[in-house]
């Protein structure tokens, strides 16, 4: 094998400029794939991290039918306290769950005594919420407390509302809400922080203590809108979701239907489509790489065969078997692909390393939120890219190699 590769390498060096140009094309393709994969991967990670770690959490459980009306924040489709207790009992036995946080979601009128507007609010247990969505604290500007998100009697208001109504930390505001029977209640709260807005559902919500939310909504027994769950290993999210589905399936409502519905973050946010689009774009770049390698290697190998017909005839006349002639040309394709893949991988990894040192700022979303990306690529992905290039190089070499091997020696020797 080594002797064939050695001869193939020598043959490639015969037309240095052509080989270099083709190799360069492959290098550019591999660099594009590696840099794009590294950037898009870290961008994806940043978006998903923000969405899951500061708003949604990894998965959520609602009472069956709640999600279909989630935009209305319905108060008549909440989990009764008994159902929530049952659910808590089940969750406590699942080791894969790191934390969970019950939420009461509702709409209210927000007044600063001079202006009034609508607000979407979440009643939360600050300690549980902090463990479930640990990045929420980082979104609070000028927080009143360092150790806790908020205390009873306090509210965290979304930045966009606070700015519009010129509300500052320490101001008193009034929240007025309808309970599920339609009666109205109002309570005053102190603003304990301004929450930075985030794209996507829940990104412009305010927060208050879960006990305050229950009081404002006049709940005799607390009811829960949703249960946000954080798993220990994000990679095993699907497995955990399936396990929880199995565990909650036996719990039925009065009609005999399932009592709960469970959704992972992918089903809860439209940004999953962006993530999928990034994956499709990465695939697209890979397809372009395959096309570049296929066309360039095929072109070089076909030219190589046509230019060396007499030489092929000489090799065959001397007794070189057709299979070995074919191997010689396939080896040339492999050398070309391997060289391009290795050089491209090294260059791509180098570019990602430099980007990591400098950091890449990306603005995203309606609020021009800035993400500082730390692009990186898994070694397995680099290896996969190299394998794709190698495989395509072999594929592209097969037809010209088969043509070379199939040449009749007597015809080939006559070729001018």
């Amino acid at each position: 094998m080594f002797k064939i590769l050695r001869l193939a390498f020598k043959n490639l060096s015969r037309y240095k400029r052509r080989t270099l140009l083709t190799g360069l094309l492959i290098v550019v393709g591999v660099v594009a794939v590696i840099v794009f994969s590294g950037l898009s991967g870290s961008f994806k990670q940043a978006i998903v991290g923000q969405i899951t770690d500061s708003v949604l959490s990894h998965l959520q459980i609602h009472r069956k039918g709640y999600l279909a009306s989630i935009d209305n924040l319905p108060l008549d489709r909440m989990m009764p306290s008994k159902a929530f207790e049952k659910l808590e009992g089940l969750l406590s036995g699942v080791e894969e769950i790191e934390a969970y946080s019950p939420r009461i979601k509702f709409g209210a009128m927000l007044s600063n005594y001079s202006q009034t507007t609508n607000a979407r609010l979440n009643g939360i247990d600050p300690e549980k919420e902090n463990r479930t969505v640990p990045l929420l604290a980082s979104r609070i500007k000028d927080a009143a407390h360092d150790d806790v998100l908020l205390k009873p009697g306090e509210v965290l208001l979304p930045e966009i509302l606070a700015r519009g109504m010129e509300i500052k930390i320490g101001d008193t505001v009034v929240l007025v809400a309808n309970n599920k029977d339609g009666s109205v209640n109002g309570m005053t709260f102190m603003v304990a922080g301004i929450v930075e807005s985030l794209m996507g559902p829940g990104g412009r919500d305010g927060y208050l203590h879960i006990d305050d939310a229950a009081s404002l909504l006049r709940m005799e027994t607390p009811e829960i809108s949703e249960l946000a769950i954080r798993v220990r290993d994000f990679g095993s999210l699907k497995a955990v979701a399936e396990k929880l589905n199995d565990l909650t399936a036996p719990l039925t409502n009065k009609q005999g239907g399932p009592m709960f519905e469970l959704h992972t973050w992918e089903q809860l946010t439209p940004f999953y489509n962006i993530v999928r689009m990034i994956d499709i774009m990465t695939l697209g770049i890979r397809v372009i790489l395959i096309a570049v390698v296929l066309i360039s290697v095929l072109n070089v190998m076909m030219m190589s065969v046509y230019e060396r017909v007499r030489e092929i005839g000489t090799l065959a006349a001397m007794g070189t078997r057709p299979g070995r002639i074919m191997a010689l040309f396939v080896a040339e394709g492999i050398c070309l692909g391997l060289g391009g893949a290795l050089a491209g991988s090294a260059m791509g990894a180098g570019i990602l390393w430099i980007m990591n040192l400098t950091g890449v700022d990306v603005t995203f979303g309606g609020n021009n939120q800035v993400f500082t990306l730390a692009p990186s690529i898994a070694p397995t992905e680099v290896a996969l890219t190299c394998l794709i290039v190698l495989g395509v190089s072999v594929l592209a070499s097969l037809q010209p190699a088969a043509k070379a091997a199939g040449l009749e020696p007597v015809e080939a020797l006559r070729h001018v």
């Binding site: 030489e311 001397m318 007794g319 007597v410």
Partner: protein, 233 residues
């Protein structure tokens, strides 16, 4: 003992709607060790005869036997193996591989065809390099050699596997008179040293005189009996 036997061999080609006969009803025998010339003008059928002997082509009629084997019935792989084992080729245009040095060109049949290990093939290459007086040019590439040196290299490459028969198609056509004479003398010397049968085609009268056995071919037919008797077997 005959190394090559042609029994009523004909070879015709179809060129469009026209059938061209390159060889017609040729019967000849070439004894082992003979220094043989196929002589005739361009297009007479010399190269076709050499191709048939070298299993590069198959007769339309008749039978070609080389070293007791009917080469016309061999498939491509068998033909390749037979050539690799039993035959050596020298071409008019030398046909050296330009990316390989003189040493590597000579080494090629042992390395790529016979898969011979290094400790066996290197002494053989050095032996033929010395025999053709090219040991000082071993590291040069074909582009750095004169025509005569290239043909010496090609002869060494043909001989390195110790074949029974070396086929040379117009080996001196691209050489000047003095070099051509030297090359033919070298081939004869190699025949004496290695006992290899040489069959070469030529239309150069200065060279054909060197042959011990000469077959005149004209318009695909063999003319009369061999012009010379074999003196060396």
């Amino acid at each position: 003992m005959n190394l090559v036997e042609f029994k009523n061999v004909s070879r015709s080609y179809q060129l469009g709607e026209v059938s061209v006969t390159a060889l017609q009803d040729v019967t000849l025998n070439i004894p082992k060790g003979a220094f043989t010339a196929l002589v005739g003008p361009s297009g007479s059928g010399k190269t076709t005869a050499l191709n048939l002997i070298g299993c590069l082509d198959k007769p339309s009629q008749g039978e070609v036997m080389v070293a007791g084997q009917a080469v016309s019935t061999m498939n491509r792989k068998q033909g390749a193996d037979f050539r690799g084992e039993k035959l050596g080729f020298v071409f008019q245009d030398f046909n050296l591989l330009p990316v390989l040095t003189v040493f590597e060109n000579i080494e090629y049949p042992l390395l790529m065809i016979r898969d011979m290990p290094k400790h066996l093939r290197h002494p053989l290459v050095e032996k033929v390099l010395a025999a053709v007086s090219m040991e000082n040019q071993a590291d040069k590439y074909p582009a750095q050699l004169s025509g005569g040196q290239k043909q010496r290299t090609a002869i060494a490459r043909a001989l390195v596997g110790n074949p029974l028969l070396v086929l040379a198609d117009e080996p001196t056509a691209n050489l000047d008179g003095a070099t051509a004479k030297t090359v033919v003398e070298l081939m004869k010397q190699m025949r004496d040293e290695f006992g290899t049968t040489f069959v070469f085609s030529t239309h150069d009268p200065r060279i054909m005189d060197q042959a011990e056995l000469t077959f005149h071919i004209l318009d695909g037919r063999l003319e009369d009996a061999p012009a010379k008797e074999v003196t060396h077997v």
